[in-house]
């Protein structure tokens, strides 16, 4: 990892005018190191997805600044950032191959290079047998893999994932997490994962940021200390339980606030 932060957020606040006006996020200060795997956990409605929107340029902060590779973002997604959304964003009218190649439609790359990237992404995400299938023929997990592959072909240097495995069962989530780790190691990209699953955050991340109830602020930043070569089998490591417990203790009070209860 380089010493210069890859992503810098300073005093980021996001308010919605309403009515009623909502203070959704901030102030947030965050530095992401190049090649870091960072996860964000927080109670429902705390502004995790808003954080992602602001971070990638889909939404502008009401105040504060967001910089990616030293350049400030101004309400547009810059080149080099890839986003995977929580909802199924596969395009129903395109095959798996066409979906994955979609991101390169505007590319000036030669067709051979495009084909190579798409083939690699298809193989990497284990979709080779389904390349000519339509999304309706795939399971939810496979559709999400298509969306990840579509982001992957763009070779982003920062990958933002908004609860990409939220709709999957526990076993599939663990396996998809392994694939995500493999992807992270192979590409060397910086990854920011929004998740509500503490165990997922604890397994996958170098650092986990715990966000408070709305307005979302970081109330704890936890270093996991895992080696770069890791996978879901790390759940059997004695430190895994301690990590998950710490995350939960940080989050418990905030989660109760969202339920309207006193800790």
């Amino acid at each position: 990892m380089s010493d210069t932060p890859h992503v810098v957020m300073r005093g980021v606040v996001r308010r919605y005018e309403g009515p009623p006006p909502v203070h959704a996020l901030g102030p947030i200060d965050l530095d992401l190191a190049r090649g870091e795997f960072f996860s964000v956990v927080g109670p429902s409605g705390c502004g995790k997805s808003t954080l992602l929107d602001v971070l990638c340029g889909l939404a502008s902060p009401t105040s504060g600044t967001v910089s990616f590779e030293g350049k400030e973002l101004h309400g547009e997604v810059p080149d080099g950032i890839g986003v995977v959304f929580q909802e199924d964003a596969s395009l129903a009218w395109l095959t798996v191959r066409q979906n994955i190649a979609f991101g390169l439609r505007m590319s000036i790359l030669p067709q051979r290079e495009i084909d190579e990237r798409v083939d690699h992404a298809i193989a990497f995400m284990g979709l080779a047998q389904f390349a000519d299938h339509y999304p309706a023929q795939l399971s939810g997990g496979m559709r999400q893999r298509v969306c990840i592959a579509r982001t992957l072909v763009l070779r982003p240097r920062l990958i933002l994932l908004d609860e990409p495995f939220g709709a999957l069962d526990q076993q599939t989530r663990l396996l998809m997490g392994d694939e995500l780790l493999r992807l992270w190691r192979e590409t060397g990209a910086t990854v920011l994962l929004i998740t509500h699953a503490l165990d997922e955050a604890a397994v996958l991340s170098d650092r986990v940021g715990v966000i408070s109830a709305r307005p979302g602020r970081f109330i704890d930043l936890v270093e996991t200390g895992w080696p770069r070569e890791r996978d879901s089998r790390i759940v059997s490591d004695p430190n895994f339980g301690a990590l998950t417990s710490r995350l939960w203790l940080s989050l418990r009070e905030e989660s109760m606030k969202t339920l309207g209860r006193v800790a």
Partner: protein
């Protein structure tokens, strides 16, 4: 046999059974031939009239009027639906009017249209457009409303401009609902034009049916009715088949 083929076979069998029953009832005199002629006579009359060439001008007049009304309704309905979709205030004003539009018998405007555009093809085209456009507008609104927000976010994340977002994301996502409007538009344009010709025009297939009816020429009337019916079924069938092909492609079948 697949389920689809079985359904088709039953459908054809039921239709054929009804036609056969009508044929028998007409032939044995249960149904007065002055009221309804046997279906086989209808077919013979249709072939005779259509094949004679006497109706060529009427057919060209009617079908070109329907086609013009359909194309204009699709263009106008899609454009105005898209405009309403963009402007929530305008939509608040227009939505209730659109919802109650179907209770308006558009034929009552024909005298006004004749006064505005004189006799001829134009009032019939306008009548067809008035009948068909609201269906396209409503389906366009439903189609655009139905485009998942996440796909619009995807378009922004992929740095697509407005034109590419529309062509690559919005239009294909909305297409199934747009098709519903196109099918309805064809039906309404056909109904509007034929009914307009039937009631108020001096040319076209609608007029020819009306003329045969008033001349007590049942054979010609039923032959022409059958022809119009067949054309409507074939045209709608083509749209259904196209829509089905798109839907099957999306479902990967």
């Amino acid at each position: 046999m697949t389920r689809g083929r079985a359904v088709l076979a039953v459908r054809v069998a039921v239709l054929a059974g009804c036609v056969l029953l009508l044929e028998i009832l007409c032939r044995i005199g249960v149904i007065n031939p002055l009221t309804v002629i046997p279906p086989s006579d209808m077919v013979a009359s249709m072939i005779e009239h259509v094949g004679s060439g006497d109706l060529d001008d009427n057919m060209i007049q009617t079908f070109s009027t329907i086609a013009t009304a359909f194309v204009l309704a699709v263009a106008l309905g899609t454009a105005s639906g898209a405009l309403l979709h963009r402007s929530s205030r305008l939509r608040d004003v227009v939505d209730p009017l659109l919802a109650s539009y179907y209770s308006v018998p558009t034929f009552i405007f024909y005298p006004l249209l004749v006064a505005l555009f004189a006799l001829g093809k134009t009032p019939l085209v306008v009548l067809g457009v008035l009948s068909a456009t609201p269906a396209v507008m409503m389906s366009t609104l439903a189609g655009l409303d139905g485009v998942p927000r996440v796909l619009l976010k995807l378009a922004r994340a992929q740095r697509l401009g407005p034109g590419r977002t529309f062509c690559w994301i919005v239009l294909p996502a909305a297409l199934p609902r747009l098709f519903t409007g196109f099918k309805l538009a064809l039906s309404y344009a056909l109904i509007g034009v034929i009914a307009g010709e039937f009631l108020l025009s001096a040319t076209g297939l609608g007029y020819a049916i009306s003329f045969a009816y008033q001349s007590f020429d049942n054979r010609a009337m039923y032959g022409l009715m059958l022809f119009v019916l067949l054309v409507a079924v074939v045209a709608n069938g083509c749209l259904y088949s196209w829509e089905g092909r798109l839907a099957r492609r999306r479902a990967g079948r």
